[in-house]
C-alpha cells in the first residue's frame, strides 16, 4: 500500500514538475548542507544561497543535515523529488565518501545531476607555537627526526584536515601520530596549547590564528599564493613539489531533475559567482569563485570523477574506512 502510494506520488510529482519546468522556480528551494551551521561549508552555502535567491526570485533556504560524516545530506537529497526544489551543496567529501564508506546509500557519480563547481578553498599548514621549524624545510627536518612521533591533528574522519593529513603523510612518506578531534575547535585548542605538532586545515579556520601570531604557519596547499595570507608560500614550491589539495565545493540536484531546471540553477550559480558581495566575502575566507566555465554541470562531473580516482588509492593505502 505504502509503495503504491509512493509510486503514485512520484508520478504525480513528475507530472507537475514536467509541466512547470519552464517557469521554475515558483516556490522556495531548499539547499541541503551536510555539515552543521557555522562551519566553513555552511558559510559558503549561505553566501551562495543568498545570492542565488536574488537571481532566481525565490528564496533559497539553507537546511543543515549534518551527520554520518557528511553522507546523510546526500542520502536525503537522492530520495527527494527531482524537481529542482531540493539541491545539495557539498565539498570534497563527495569524492572521498565512496571509498571511506563501503556501504554508502548512494552513488555520487550516478545518482545526481550536476549544477556546477562553486569554489576551491585553499588550506594551510600550521603548527603549534612552540615548534622550532622556521619554514617548510624545517618542518621536513623535524618530521625526518621525530618520525612517527610527529603528531597531526584533524577535525574528524573524512574532514578536509583528515584528507590533507593523508596526502601530507604520503608526500613525506612518514606515518604520523594522527589524533582525531571532533571538529576544528577542539583540534585548534590542542595546537594553541602546544600539544599537537601539525594541522592542515581550511584557511577559513586558520587565518585568524595565523594573523594573531598564535600558531606557526608554513604554507598553503594551492599552487598559487592566497590573497588573504600573502606571506605563505605554496607548499608545492616550499619543499613538497606537486603537493596540491583544495576543498572544492559543488552543487548537485537529485537524478532526474529536468534539464531546463538544472540549466536554470547553473545560470543562477554563475550569476552568484559574479556577485561582488560573494567575491569579497569569499576573499575574506581566503578563496575565490571558480571561473565561469567551471561553474557548469560537466565541469563538476569531471572534477568529481577525477577526485574519486585521486583519493581512492590514498585512502585505501592508509587503511582508513569510516564503516
Amino acid at each position: 500500500m505504502r509503495k503504491w502510494l509512493l509510486a503514485a506520488a512520484g508520478i504525480l510529482a513528475l507530472g507537475i514538475s514536467g509541466a512547470s519546468a519552464q517557469n521554475y522556480p515558483t516556490r522556495s528551494i531548499t539547499m541541503m548542507i551536510p555539515f552543521a551551521a557555522g562551519g566553513p561549508t555552511d558559510t559558503v552555502g549561505r553566501l551562495i544561497a543568498e545570492s542565488m535567491t536574488k537571481n532566481l526570485g525565490q528564496q533559497v533556504i539553507v537546511e543543515n543535515a549534518a551527520g554520518a560524516g557528511g553522507t546523510r545530506a546526500p542520502g536525503l537529497v537522492v530520495k527527494a523529488t527531482p524537481d529542482g526544489y531540493t539541491i545539495l551543496l557539498h565539498h570534497i567529501g563527495m569524492s572521498t565518501a565512496p571509498t571511506l564508506y563501503r556501504k554508502l546509500a548512494y552513488k555520487p557519480l550516478e545518482d545526481f545531476e550536476f549544477v556546477g563547481l562553486v569554489t576551491d578553498a585553499p588550506m594551510s599548514l600550521i603548527a603549534r607555537p612552540g615548534l622550532e621549524a622556521k619554514d617548510m624545510k624545517g618542518v621536513l627536518e623535524y618530521i625526518a627526526k621525530t618520525k612517527e612521533k610527529t603528531s597531526y591533528a584533524n577535525a574528524g574522519i573524512g574532514s578536509a584536515s583528515h584528507l590533507c593529513g593523508m596526502l601530507l603523510q604520503a608526500a613525506v612518506k612518514q606515518q604520523f601520530n594522527t589524533i582525531n578531534f571532533s571538529g576544528t575547535g577542539p583540534a585548534m585548542t590542542d595546537i594553541l596549547g602546544d600539544r599537537v605538532d601539525l594541522m592542515c586545515d581550511q584557511t577559513t579556520n586558520t587565518t585568524g590564528q595565523i594573523k594573531g601570531g598564535k600558531v606557526k604557519a608554513y604554507g598553503v596547499t594551492t599552487k598559487t599564493r592566497v590573497k588573504s595570507l600573502p606571506d605563505l608560500p605554496p607548499l608545492d614550491q616550499a619543499g613538497l613539489p606537486g603537493f596540491e589539495v583544495a576543498v572544492w565545493h559543488g552543487i548537485y540536484a537529485p537524478k532526474g531533475t529536468p534539464k531546463e531546471v538544472v540549466a536554470r540553477l547553473t545560470q543562477a550559480l554563475q550569476a552568484a559567482l559574479k556577485d561582488p558581495k560573494v567575491i569579497s566575502a569569499f576573499a575574506e575566507l581566503g578563496t575565490e569563485p571558480v571561473p565561469q566555465d567551471q561553474a557548469t554541470g560537466p565541469a563538476l562531473q569531471a572534477k568529481l570523477k577525477a577526485e574519486i580516482d585521486k583519493w581512492r588509492p590514498l585512502i585505501q593505502a592508509a587503511g582508513q574506512f569510516a564503516d
Partner: protein, 506 residues
Amino acid sequence: MDIFADFFGGMGANLALGFSQAVTLDNLFYCFVGVLLGTAIGVLPGLGPIATIALLLPITFKLDPVSALIMLSGIYYGAQYGGSTTAILINLPGETSSVVTAIDGHQMAKKGKAGLALFTSAVGSFFAGTVATFLIVGFAPVLASAALKFSPADYFSLMVMGFVAAVVLAQGSLLKALAMIVLGLLIAMVGPSESGSPRFTFDNPEFFDGFDFVALSMGIFGIGEIIRNLEDETKREAIKSRFLDLIPTKAELKEMIPPILRGTGIGSALGILPGGGAILGAFAAYSLEKRLSKTPQDFGKGKLAGVAGPESANNAGAQVSFIPMLTLGIPSNPVMALMLGALIIHRIVPGPTLVTDRPELFWGVVSSMWIGNFMLLVLNLPLIGMWVKFLTIPYRLLFPGIVTICCIGVYSVSNNPFDVHTMAACGLIGYVLFKLECEPAPLLLGFVIGRLMEQYFTRAMQLSFGDATVFVREPISASLLLVSAIALVLVLLPAIRKKREEAFAE
C-alpha cells in the same frame, strides 16, 4: 601600582566604548529581541538556541555585526533562563544543564513552591551573569590563555570528577545509581568510536552518529513524566500554586545566597574551559551543595539550594564560555560555532586579534550581556506569575500540547525524524526506570560525560604514546584525580560502614 592604574583605566575606557555601543536605541532593541526570543525558545521544550540561531542567521546578514552578535548572544543566554522554567514546572529539561534543576526544582513545584523556585533561578542567574560579565571585562585574555594549559589528560581527570559527582547526585540506592551511570555510558558508546569506525550501530545508518542528548533527555524526563502523570489521576491534582510563594522569606533568602555564590564560582571556573567544562558546572554545583548541606537527605525532595547552586553555575558557565570564543576564536559549543559563522559572514575573522582589531565589537557585546541579563530579570520576574498559572491548566489539555512541542523541538535539533523516534522510545524507558525506582539524572550524566571522557582518554594516550602515567604525572590531572578519589571515599564510607555494621549484627 601603575600596572593596576593602567589596567583599570583601560578597563574604564573599554567599558565606556562597550556601553556606547550597547546603549544605542538599535542595539538595546536587538538585545531585547534576543533575550525575549531566547526566553521563549528556552521555555518551549526541545527548541534550543541552535535551531533558532540557525534560522535567524540570514536575517543577521542585513544587520550591523555588533547588533547581530548582541542579538544572537541574547538568544543564547536567554535560552538558559527559559530552559529552567520548563524543567521546574513540568520536569522537562531541554538542555544538559537544566537536568539538574529539574531534580529539586520540580519537587518544589509539586509542593506548591514553583514561584519560589523560579524566583531563585532568575535571581541566581542574574547574579551569576553579572559576575561572569565582570570576569570577561577584567580577565578574558588571561583566563583564555590559562584555559589553554588544560591538556587532554586534565580534561579526562575533570570528567572522572564529573563521574564522582554523578554518584553523589543519586538519592536512593548507590547500586542503582551506579547501574544508571553505566547504562548512560553504554548508550554513549553507540556511534562512531574515536578511530572513526562505528560501534553498536547494527549497520543502521541512523545509529552512526550516536544518540542526541536532547532527544534522550526529553524522552526519559519529559515524556516519561507525562506517562507517569497520566497513570495516576489523583497525584497530579496535588500540584498547587500559590502566588504568595514567589517572594522568599528572610530564612529562604539566607538559604539561597551561599549556594548562589558557590554556584557562580564553580560555573565560572568550569565555563572558561573550551573543551566542555560548562556542561559539568551545574552537576558540580549540585554535588557540592549536597556535600556541604547539613541535611543532604532533603536533596531531591525540593531543596532550595538544589536549585540556586546549579542555576547560578549554569548561567555563569554560559556567559563565561564566551571567553574562548571572543579571545581565541575557539567555539566551546555548537551555539558558539554558529556565532563564529555569523561573524565570518560579516567578514570578521574570529581569532586572537578580535579584541584589538574590533574593540567596538568585543566590548559592545560584553556590555550588552550585562544589559541583557538585567532585561531578563525584569522580563522574567513578572512572568513567573503567568508560568505558575500555567500549571492550573487541566492536564488533559496540557499534555498533548507538551508532546507536540517536544516533537517539533527534537526534530528541529538536526532535522532528523530519527531523533523523534528516539525520544518516543526513551519516554517508555523513562517510565520503566521510574517504576524500578531508578533515577534518570545519573544516566544522563553518564551519557554526556562518557563520550567526552573517552575522547580525552584516547587523545591523552595518543599524545603520550600509550603511557598511562600521564594522568598522574601532570599536576592538574593528578590533583583532580586525587580530589575525585577523596570525594568517592567520602561518599562510599557511610555505605561501607553500614554494610559492616550489618555484618557484625549477624
